[in-house]
């Protein structure tokens, strides 16, 4: 019995290579060298493999400080979005904030206006929750025509992270919320001092002043060092680089809750303070831009989420909506978080259309595009949550349906 079976195997395979390929004794192919070659040393902060390429597409913008990047949803698995791939939406660039100097001012209709350092906030009772954040403008292009070419372009302004921080309720109790306080207005420390008003009921319910995302400090693009996390509500109210919260008796009617993030209806009126993100789903495999390797087994995979609660079911059709099957939902299913769904499928190699439809714990089911545009017209810009159809061609290529 050889002392080192691994070495022995390599010697044998070396012989096999010699016999098969006529290479010189003592030379090994790259593949043969790999198992015994010394790897890279330990390192202080991890990077992904050089062979991995998933990234947020960065559009060519005249002012790169105003814009967004999208999560490549079709290149993620499970329900957690890597922090490095979380979508971005900035209105005046990403500020560089020193956590040793950054503070949160809590004032207005409270008994005791307070200033918290980041260290103060980390001392207070903490909570961790997995929540999605979705921009109200996600899938906005689908209002005019359902033309998004791939999952990132159509749905990538949505991501899901584990957020850790102080429940906002703890801070409000510490400051002594006055009963006249019906709203709050939160402000970021970006150059435009982005600000949004929020009803006090939501603040007392499940909002977090978060300092951590997926186990480490929140990324600068996501609000480092502090972000207001408002579960299930449109991304814009999840104010990044949070620097002050003022308790007020009326909404402030800021630019981003009047001129933007209001939903224009067909009759010319607009819905305002449409915070909730309704149930939504997208098939990530097969999805636009991908190509099926050939007929036979495919696992249909996708993501579903709802600001109203838990995803209760996802129905999938592989025949353009004629028949529907219940997809398996990965547990645990968490409120206001991504839920992964899967359905085994035998593709017969013929052209077809696939589509998913999510239903949440409130009984709300994702509408078709036609139902949505009948209810709201074509000019709402925000809060599009119609089902997304992917068209599979006979050669396996997948396109927007």
């Amino acid at each position: 019995m050889p002392k080192n079976p691994r070495r022995s195997f390599l010697q044998l395979s070396g012989i096999a290579a010699l016999a098969g390929c006529g290479s010189q004794p003592g030379t090994k192919t790259e593949e043969e060298k790999l198992p015994s070659a010394l790897g890279k040393p330990i390192r202080a902060y991890g990077e992904r493999s050089q062979f991995e390429t998933a990234k947020r597409a960065v559009p060519d913008l005249k002012r790169p400080q105003i814009g967004s990047t999208r999560t490549p949803l079709a290149e993620t698995e499970g329900i957690i979005t890597p922090s490095s791939l979380h979508f971005e939406r900035h209105h005046a660039g990403v500020p560089e904030l020193d956590p040793a100097k950054h503070t949160l001012l809590l004032h207005g209709l409270v008994d005791r206006p307070l200033v918290f350092t980041v260290a103060d906030l980390k001392r207070l009772p903490s909570a961790s929750h997995i929540y999605f954040v979705e921009c109200a403008g996600n899938s906005g292009g689908e209002w005019k025509a359902p033309g998004g070419p791939n999952a990132a372009a159509s749905f990538g302004l949505a991501s899901c992270s584990e957020w850790t921080g102080v429940p906002l309720k703890v801070l409000l109790e510490e400051a002594g919320l006055k009963k006249e306080g019906k709203w709050l207005v939160a402000e970021g420390a970006d150059a435009c001092k982005m600000s949004r008003s929020l009803p006090i009921e939501k603040a007392l319910d499940d909002c977090l002043v978060a300092y951590s995302q997926n186990g480490e400090a929140i990324r600068p693009e996501q609000g480092y060092p502090l972000r207001l996390v408002v579960p299930g509500y449109e991304g814009n109210v999840n104010v990044k680089w949070l620097r002050q919260i003022k308790i007020v008796d009326q909404p402030n009617q800021t630019k981003d809750e009047t001129s933007k993030y209001t939903d224009l209806l067909a009759d010319g009126t607009s819905r305002q303070f449409t915070f909730l993100m309704d149930a939504k789903s997208v098939i990530t495999y097969p999805s636009g831009g991908q190509k099926l390797p050939g007929p036979g087994f495919q696992e249909i995979r996708g993501l579903a989420w709802s600001g109203r609660g838990i995803i209760d079911r996802v129905d999938v059709s592989t025949d353009g909506g004629k028949t529907w099957q219940k997809a398996a939902l990965q547990e645990p299913r968490l409120p206001k978080a991504f839920t992964r769904f899967r359905l085994p499928w035998q593709w017969d190699g013929k052209e077809t259309e696939i589509v998913a439809r999510a239903t949440d714990s409130s009984g709300y089911a994702q509408p078709t595009r036609e139902e949505l545009t009948t209810a709201r017209g074509m000019n709402s810009n925000y809060h599009y949550n119609g089902v997304k159809v992917w068209k599979i061609a006979a050669d396996g290529s997948v396109k927007n349906g």
Binding site: D111, E173, K255, Y364, E371
Partner: protein, 175 residues
Amino acid sequence: MANRLVLLLLAICAVTAQKYHVGRSATADEIKTTDQFMAPDGTGLPPGKGTAVEGRDIYERRCSRCHGKQGQGDEEGPLAGGKGTLATPKPLKTVGSFWPYATTIYDYVHRAMPFDNPGLLDANQTYAVTAVILHLNGIIGEKDEMNAQTLPKVKMPNREGFIKDNRPDTGKMKK
């Protein structure tokens, strides 16, 4: 009775008492410096004044490159025009056709404009630029003075154009 009173006092204390004593009291000065919020009723608007005539020069130097000389839009979206378009297939949402409150103009210019140098304008200049934008939309005259008292009273054309969130507006799942 006395017991009830004690319980009531305890309840009041429980609601208002500080529990963790983490963080420090904010000073009046730092609140004043940081709190630049303004509400549609005019709360928070600073002293100062300006007219469209006074603001034209600043507008041309600091705003028109992106928003157009007449507020028609250029590199950025338009500030003026769009009247009567909201219910059409091509709605043009501008300050004049869409924004419900005039105070939002002051607030936004003050906190975020000019894009490359927010906070550049003082209160008089901000009132004056706000007056220019309102005047370009035909909402006020070129000599109408905007200040903390007059600005909240400006009646925006689309003030009644907003409704509360009344979703869900699409059908529930067919069982």
